[in-house]
């Protein structure tokens, strides 16, 4: 048995250490952020904070939640994520169910959908389209253009395909309708698939920052990720048309850390529960047959 060989034992010890270290590097940046957000301004500016709060204070959170720009953006992000996920799931599950069946024109429809994965109009034509539809500065510019995703469609369709046909035929004989079968049999049985795609869509909306910057001419309409992009990355508090004191407050590293940390919190909270689903979902989507 290889377990007993000396060389393998040595490798095994190194392997454990290596992988634990690698896993830790995935956690440490978030811990660092967490520690900074609960540390005093002086400690953060003096580079004294590593992975544990120094001179513990919740000051940064108090300031963050008192900042109406932040809370307003957070609200927009919540609305956008809920609305976007609902619309996205509706569009993808309905089409996914239909396309998991064999019917005339199915292949043609499938190609119409898949082609969007291969070729796109690009940034400028999309921007002009959204603008000319009058969606600029509305939540619809953030929710509608990305509502359909071909990759998610294929994932869901493959999930639906794994449901035994006999189940469906039995329901048909009992007099169930297409829609009844879809809602009462397929959706409940595809929960792992729905959770996977739901997580992808949710995270996508929550993290999406570029469309906010593109389509919102007023910074007060920014979703949280766009707000953070301007505050944290561009660091150009001036461009946000803030007063001098507000700008100074935003540039504090502990406050930035608090803001980033709050913005990642929903993902950190939802992710562990959906993780076991998405592994299954991805494997099914990639491997197939």
């Amino acid at each position: 048995m290889y377990h007993k060989s000396k060389g393998y034992k040595l490798f095994s010890i190194f392997n454990h250490i290596l992988l634990i270290l690698v896993a830790l590097t995935c956690l440490l940046p978030l811990l660092h952020l967490f520690a900074q957000s609960f540390s005093s301004k002086a400690a953060v500016n003096g580079n004294l904070v590593s992975f544990w709060p120094v001179e513990f204070t919740a000051d940064a959170y108090e300031k963050t939640f008192k900042n109406s720009n932040f809370t307003g953006s957070m609200l927009i992000s919540i609305v956008r994520t809920v609305l976007g996920t609902l619309i996205g799931m509706f569009v993808i599950t309905t089409a996914g169910y239909a396309l998991s069946k064999d019917f005339r024109g199915r292949n043609a429809l499938m190609w119409i959908f898949v082609f969007t994965m291969l070729f796109s109009g690009g940034l400028i034509p999309s921007y002009i389209l959204v603008t000319s539809l009058g969606m600029k500065d509305t939540i619809w510019a953030l929710v509608l253009p990305g509502a359909f995703g071909a990759y998610n469609l294929i994932l869901i369709m493959n999930f639906f395909k794994t449901i035994p046909k006999a189940l469906e035929e039995a329901a048909f004989i009992d007099g169930a309708s297409f829609f009844g079968i879809f809602v009462k049999i397929f959706l409940p049985l595809s929960l792992p698939g729905l959770a996977t795609v739901g997580l992808f869509i949710m995270v996508g909306h929550w993290n999406s920052w570029f469309d906010g910057i593109l389509y919102m001419s007023n910074t007060t309409n920014y979703p949280l990720a766009s707000f953070l992009q301007t505050v944290v990355v561009q660091s150009s508090a001036q461009s946000m048309a803030l007063s001098q004191s507000e700008a100074a407050a935003l540039s504090e590293q502990s406050i930035k850390a608090a803001q980033i940390f709050i913005s990642t919190l929903p993902i950190i909270l939802v992710y562990p529960f959906l993780q076991r689903y998405f592994v299954k979902g991805i494997v099914l989507g990639a491997v197939k047959e």
Binding site: Y2, Y8, F11, N15, L19, A23, L24, C26, P29, L30, N47, S50, V91, T94, A95, A98, L99, D102, F103, R104, L109, M110, I112, V114, T116, L118, F119, S120, G121, G122, L123, I124, P125, Y127, I128, L129, L144, A147, F148, I154, F172, S177, F178, F179, V203, N207, S208, F210, A225, V232, V233, S235, K256, I260, Q275, V279, I282, V283, V287, K288
Partner: protein
Amino acid sequence: MNRVKPEKIHGTRKKPWKKELRHNWPLYVLCLPALIFVLIFAYGPMAGLVMAFQNYKPWQGITGSEWIGLDNFARIFQYEESTQAIMNTLIIAVIKIVVGIIVPIIMAILLSEIRNVGLKKSIQTLVYLPHFLSWVTVAGIMIDILGLDGGINHFLFSVFGTKPVFFLGDPAYFRPTVIISDLWKNFGFGMIVYLATITGIDPSYYEAAEIDGATRRQQIRHVTLPSMLPMIIVISTLSLGSVLDAGFDQIFNLYNPLVYSTGDIIDTYVYRSSLLNGQYGFGTAVGLFKSGISFILIVISYRIAYKLANYKIF
């Protein structure tokens, strides 16, 4: 049983349309929402691609703007900035792809050697996590820790005594920084399918190898790797389609004028030249150039994946 009855529900092909619609109309209705979205938001912008052949002026619109043929495309190769962006894109994307295939394979094999289920699951949970963080978040952290007096430089100084490195502002260091941070964010996610493949290997292969006296390393080489090969081929060939995708989200959040020479990619260049500088027609042409080449590459890569590993898109 001498005659097969036409199936009552969906499943029979090539029925006359009238009959087909009577039986399967709900399926068409269910496709409608997605179809509408796709036609408007995916195919709609494709119509706007004609701007690439125009000297587009927003106030004149597509119908009123002057047609200039292929001039915009010719300019792509005349401007130093755009040829540089194309080169940067190719270099960054190719290295990202190569590293992004090799590392997940190695990590998946190493992780599969860990027998403690609890530990294995915990490691998996942690390494998948960064994939779900936005580049804004990651860039926010990186700007802080990679700064001249940030954590990494502190560490390097205290251990090796090196001078502070300007990771995000030095053209020489920008690409490695981009590639390593991309790897950090995505290797766990890329590992998922390989791990699943390894888990799916029939244990009797290993048992047989062991009886034949194969060491663990020989087992990995002669059982694990060959079993992973079809998946490796599929993923590698499919990634050919993304050699012009160097990652807009990441670059946009990390770069600055100091590192344009090595870090500016096609997508960021399109953004700057068109939306910021108002060259809509030119920006669209660069975008179309990229989409066109990518499209051809994707089609080729799907063909190869189909030939080599019998992979189908759907």
